[in-house]
Subunit: 219 residues, 2 copies
DNA sequence: GACGATTTGGACAAGCCTGTCTAAAAATAT
DNA sequence: ATATTTTTAGACAGGCTTGTCCAAATCGTC
């Protein structure tokens, strides 16, 4: 009754490839047009798939949105986790390494395609379907801030920083990193590698002027 | 041929009251539902007006959106200008006065009903109708930043601040002021007066740690 | 009270979109 | 090669929305 293993995964692969393609196209269209304005024919066309196939895979327009949001938040969370692991815990040149870290953060999480999509979907559909994002809301930014705050606290303990409140400092770091990019992002402009580095450099310079110490006490 | 003055302004008053009511309702609906999802019947109902009257006043759905955006950007610009005039040019207690200024900025411009609407409309329709916001884009944030930067530069000249680049400092000031409110705003939560003051206090403390001088040289 | 303009409610056509159905086509595994 | 499953293209009903038209009603002024 159950088929052999090989055919199953072969079917699943094609199946999953189409599924992924649909999710990708849907993310783009939902993001551009909003949920109400999104046209399933257009999604199907952009996915290179017939409309019926979209319905076969996800059943409903609303269901499709749910799947898209789940996919994106999962990828975002993975990206944040991965990038957070590259935080300079044992810096040699703190300023340079924080700048690199900030650039990675922007490239992998905030200025990302996924980051842009999540931000936009959140803004357009967040109030209408609050339960859609409630999972991310609980496990997303709060955890990121806490993790970043812990890193900064460790840096402070090692004598690199002078912090009153690591949580506040973490939020301020993220805010500063985005300071020069907000307008570009809100207008949907693309940001060059150059702009990204300059923004990160400005942010880190300000951050270290506020919270940096001249030398770690260990040296 | 031309009627007397009184009837004219009386007619215009009722006319303009309805017009304003429609614009107000339309702003709310466009913002909640997006352009595609906005229902003109709903706008009319929320404005307390018949659908036909909406068409009489603004002709077209797209036209209505244009009118809404124009109205909001004009009000926002006025609010920014007004608030900017309350910048502490001759401070006694710089930290306290900057905190007050930041609170005003948030209340009158950023966390405002208008501010929220503009942000959301910009995000949802900005890429589809770029020319809609091009006017604000040119004359809005850039001018605000420049004006704020000039104030900071004057403060630096008076010995209160130590700035490399006033423009960067102005952007960072605004970014810091929003640091603690971003999540609340993105989720559409309302922010209490308390949160607003706390956020402003955190922002100003960080800003002054980075750029403040102990005393102005004039004293 | 009469007059002119505005507003109203409802009817209406036209278009678009969702979601379903069906039969043909394509792809895959055996 | 055949059988099974997936995919496709198209038609289709149903619903909703925009924008227009029109006759009745309302409002403010003379």
């Amino acid at each position: 009754m159950t088929p052999a293993i090989a055919p199953d995964i072969a079917v699943v692969r094609s199946h999953s490839a189409k599924r992924h393609s649909i999710l990708d196209a849907a993310a783009g269209v939902f993001c551009r047009e909003g949920f109400a304005g999104a046209n399933i024919d257009l999604i199907a066309a952009e996915a290179g798939v017939s409309r019926q196939t979209v319905y076969n895979h996800h059943g409903d327009k609303e269901n499709l949105l749910v799947a898209v949001v789940r996919e994106i938040t999962e990828r975002i969370n993975a990206g944040v986790f991965e990038t957070l692991a590259t935080f300079p815990d044992k810096p040699v040149n703190l300023e340079a390494e924080l700048v690199d870290f900030a650039v990675r953060l922007n490239q992998n999480c905030l200025c990302n395609r996924d980051g842009k999509f999540l931000r936009k979907l959140l803004q357009t559909e967040g109030e209408r379907y609050p339960e859609l994002f409630s999972g991310w809301r609980e496990h997303g930014p709060a955890k990121t801030w806490a993790a970043l705050a812990a890193r900064f606290a460790r840096l402070a303990h090692a004598g690199w920083l002078d912090l009153d409140d690591p949580d506040v400092a973490a939020r301020q770091f993220l805010a500063l990193v985005n300071a020069d990019l907000q307008m570009a992002m809100i207008f949907g402009d693309s940001v060059s590698e150059e702009q990204l580095r300059a923004a990160a450099a400005n942010a880190v310079r300000c951050f270290l002027r506020a919270y940096g110490k001249a030398r770690p006490h260990g040296t």
